[in-house]
């Protein structure tokens, strides 16, 4: 199975980067080959241009940027969703990973 690239976006990329660690752990435990990374909203364009992203997840605190990202991703066909609030707060890597994998369609 090819590597799945999951991109997380929040305001400064700080709290999402904590989630990345937890998600990576969950992925390793399940034997899923993934590349998960977090960026700040202002860096998102660079990452989208340089990386082959399979799915983009937004932190709930920046869910008002959804429209902006939808416009950016429309022609790329990258699925986009806001991370569930409770999972985000509890840093539940497993659930968020499941959310991402479901969006990719695996």
């Amino acid at each position: 199975m090819a590597t799945k690239t999951i991109m997380l976006v929040c305001s400064a990329g700080m709290s999402t980067s904590m989630l990345v660690t937890k998600m990576q752990k969950a992925a390793d435990a399940q034997g899923i080959d993934t590349d998960i990374f977090a960026v700040s909203a202002s860096d998102a364009d660079n990452s989208l241009a340089s990386k082959d992203v399979n799915v983009l997840l937004l932190g709930p605190q920046v869910r008002f940027m959804k429209g902006q990202f939808e416009a950016k991703l429309a022609d790329k066909g990258i699925p986009l969703e806001v991370i569930d609030m409770k999972d985000y707060g509890m840093m539940n890597g497993e659930n968020v990973l499941a959310q991402a994998m479901k969006l990719i369609g695996e």
């Binding site: 929040c10 605190q61 429209g67 985000y88």
Partner: protein
């Protein structure tokens, strides 16, 4: 309570959505964020000087860092770093803004940044005027000849004698050295002009690009070359439009646009930001947005960075010029970093004390788990776990303390600063700096600042604690 949150949600969420999707506001916010790597380097230089040069003088008589080896060198290096960063913060911002606007329109971003810089620079002072008044006849013939040859203008003028209050005749030597860019037009003073002219110029540029009013090169030409050619006509029109504006503005008003903006827009707006009401309004809105799970600081960044952030850069520069006394005299008392220093400990809402209150008082398993999970990030002012995990978001019990605590702590910090009990924030410190240390560094190492922050934290604790206990009892019932 439910009706209130429902009403607020209906009112606030669309605002957040509008700001978050308004591409010009997004570009403005990203432009400020984009300058951070360089402004932070400059702030580091000022902060280092504050610690090794200015702080010890408070405790050691006759201390002069400029006589101490190594320190002397570090101070010298800091000077160069400052020259290349904060001294020209407005210029950097102009580029960042043009780049981000062009990006938002999906056109050549490098050209957009350059057009914006061009639009700012064309309207600033290019000459360094200097005037000396002399008693008539004091200047010898030879000196007169030399000065005139060097480009000075010598004239006899009547000026007001401040000593006697009468007019008196003087010989005035005016030298207008050309070929100098005025630094005061490129630093924090340039922000508002860069915003106005940058937006105008780059929007013109981007619209022309999007309408394909460009030079089209044949297909064999390398893409990099044709990209640059395509930007020529739009950039030309944009810069000419701003150029004409600058020409006629100065012709009819006799002042440079940038000086006019400073006097009629920037100064009054910054003055307004110093009022208690303005500080409270922004505080309340940050909290309200966060209560609905939206990053309040981020949504309000165009105002926070555009007004209080500009005030902060001025303070940093004033500190570099003359230390804390200069800031107190000519600077702004309440700036962007003041919020972080006195009320945002642990993140918006001062949630680190909520976490402490939970760890002390709460017996609820869910609260205790989230308290432990949130403590680590909370120390670095990251509070999403407690915000979404507890949750605070849309939690009716937490609404009151979450709104009230920052209002009270901001008020304490505000009045402590206004009354001079603590030095105003004059340094730019990364927001992930742990509380107490943050306010110490932000005020240029004023030991009273962490004391005030600690008082704020205790007060916030007293506000949060009863609600934590109440949440505990609700669980029991």
């Amino acid at each position: 309570m439910h009706a209130l949150t429902a009403w607020l949600e209906k009112f606030l969420l669309p605002i957040a959505g509008k700001i978050g999707n308004q591409k010009h506001l997004v570009a403005l916010r990203d432009a400020f964020i984009g300058t951070m790597p360089v402004t932070m380097a400059g702030s580091m230089a000022v902060l280092l000087n504050a610690i090794i040069r200015d702080l010890p003088t408070q405790f050691i008589d006759g201390y002069d860092a400029n006589t101490i080896p190594v320190f002397k060198e570090i101070i010298g290096i800091n000077g160069y770093v400052w020259n290349g960063t904060l001294a020209i913060a407005g210029l950097m911002f102009a580029f960042s803004l043009g780049y981000n606007i062009a990006r938002a329109y999906g056109v050549n971003d490098l050209a957009g940044g350059l057009v914006s810089v061009g639009a700012l620079i064309q309207g600033i002072a290019f000459s360094a005027p200097a005037t000396v008044n002399l008693e008539p006849g004091q200047l010898g013939e030879k000196a007169t000849e030399l000065l005139t040859n060097a480009g000075s203008v010598i004239s006899q003028t009547e000026v007001l004698d401040t000593a006697t209050g009468n007019m008196k005749l003087v010989e005035q030597v005016t030298n207008n050295a050309w070929g100098w860019l005025k630094l005061d037009h490129l630093n924090g003073n340039a922000f508002f002009t860069a915003m106005i002219l940058g937006f105008v110029a780059v929007i013109i540029f981007a619209k022309l690009m999007n309408r394909n009013i460009t030079i089209k090169m044949p297909e064999q030409v390398p893409p990099a070359v044709s990209k640059a050619f395509a930007a020529i006509i739009p950039a030309l029109v944009a810069l000419y439009a701003v150029g004409m504006f600058n020409y006629f503005f100065t012709r009819f008003t006799d002042v440079l646009f940038i000086d006019w903006v400073q006097k009629t827009i920037a100064d009054p707006l910054l003055e307004l930001s110093q009022g208690f009401g303005a500080v409270m309004i922004i505080t309340v809105f940050i909290q309200l947005f966060w209560f609905f799970g939206i990053h309040g600081m981020n949504v309000l960044a165009p105002a926070l960075e555009g007004i209080w952030g500009v005030a902060q850069i001025k303070n940093v520069n004033l500190f570099n010029e003359g230390g804390v006394e200069m800031v107190k005299e000519h600077g702004y008392l309440w700036v962007r970093g003041s919020f972080d220093a006195f009320s945002m400990f642990g993140g918006s809402g001062g949630t680190i004390v909520l976490i402490i209150a939970i760890l002390i008082f709460s017996k609820r398993a869910d609260y205790k788990t989230i308290g432990k999970l949130s403590l680590g990030p909370g120390i670095f002012n990251i509070n999403e776990p407690v915000m979404f995990g507890l949750p605070i978001v849309l939690n009716p019990i937490m609404f009151v303390p979450f709104l009230l605590a920052p209002i009270v702590t901001t008020a304490i910090g505000y009045f402590a600063t206004i009354n001079g009990w603590v030095d105003p924030v004059s340094q730019q410190v990364v927001w992930v700096t742990p509380p107490l240390l943050l306010s110490f560094l932000a005020t240029g190492a004023d030991w009273r600042a962490p004391v005030v922050s600690l008082i704020c934290m205790i007060v916030a604790f007293i506000i949060y604690a009863p609600f934590v206990i109440a949440a505990n009892k609700m669980e029991e019932q």
